[in-house]
């Protein structure tokens, strides 16, 4: 195989891996961003911002924060392992 063709293939593979890793790394932040955007668009959904007179269930139910929490948990607990495994799998396939 000519060396520049081999290099092109390696670059293409690396680009695909990097795109997928980037996508995984973006899922959490984008989910969090959706929750924050929602909180700005409908601040009355966050009863914590005006807690006076609110009952227990109203104070517990903060849907925009739930969305932020889902993104945060994914970004911290799931995404790093997935990206590491993706790189391992790609490296194993290349060698």
């Amino acid at each position: 195989m000519e060396s520049h063709i081999a290099t092109d293939v390696a670059v293409e593979r690396s680009r695909g891996r990097s795109l997928r890793a980037t996508a995984i790394n973006l899922i959490g932040p984008l989910t969090m961003l959706a929750g924050v955007t929602w909180a700005f668009l409908q601040p009355y959904r966050l009863t914590l911002l005006h807690p006076h007179g609110q009952g227990f269930w109203w104070l517990l139910s903060e849907p925009p924060l739930y969305v932020v929490l889902v993104g945060l948990v994914f970004a911290v607990l799931v995404a790093p392992g997935v990206v590491a495994d993706l790189q391992e799998a790609e490296d194993a396939a290349e060698s």
């Binding site: 995984i24 849907p63 969305v67 994914f74 799931v78 392992g81 997935v82 993706l86």
Partner: protein, 194 residues
């Protein structure tokens, strides 16, 4: 002392969002990479099963109408069946890939139940609109899951299923009692709220 119905809908929306996010990630990296750590393979089926279990108290405590009670009961069974079948597949207790049809069946039953138990038209109120939207989205999801049972490696189908779960989460988060939708609402639906 019971939480309002929309609170429960928001909690289940969060469950659907969790499943949707996990399915998106699995679609991006592929099933082989996703299952490199065994605990990860159990995540979304486990959530599905747990949501089915948690639907039982909803059925028991929210008995404002028989048809709602039946609908909640059918969702509890459908989610437990789907989650249980996917868990058993991951664990290797069952091997035929056609067991994935249980998830398609679960979503089809759930979609049918939500469509049947909504007695009003699309624009009667926000709740009615959301029932129709969720029901038909679930039916589309059931179709995608049906196809996925025969083409398990299709990234497009996996991504489609993930989007369906995220959409259902968005619809459930949108639930706000009798608030208007697109400015249209029947005067019979009650006083509009935000």
């Amino acid at each position: 002392m019971l939480p309002r119905a929309e609170f429960v809908h928001w909690w289940f929306a969060t469950g659907f969002l969790v499943i949707g996010v996990l399915l998106v990630a699995e679609a991006v990296v592929g099933t082989e990479v996703w299952r490199r750590r065994p605990w990860r393979a159990y995540l979304w089926p486990g959530f599905m099963f747990l949501m089915g279990v948690l639907m039982w108290p909803v059925m028991v405590f929210y008995t404002n109408s028989t048809i709602h009670m039946l609908a909640h009961g059918s969702w509890a069974q459908a989610m437990m069946l789907a989650g249980g079948a996917e868990l058993a597949l991951v664990r290797g207790k069952i091997r035929s890939p056609y067991w994935r049809l249980a998830t398609a069946l679960g979503l089809a039953v759930s979609g049918a139940a939500i469509l049947i138990h909504e007695q009003n038209g699309w624009l009667f109120a926000r709740a009615a609109f959301l029932h129709h939207a969720i029901g038909w989205t679930a039916m589309v999801g059931a179709g995608l899951l049906l196809l996925r049972a025969f083409r398990p490696r299709s990234t497009a189908l996996q991504a489609g299923v993930a989007v369906v779960f995220v959409l259902i989460a968005v619809f459930l988060y949108s639930d706000r009692d009798t608030a208007p939708i697109f400015g249209h609402m029947s005067p019979l639906a009650g006083e509009p709220r935000r």
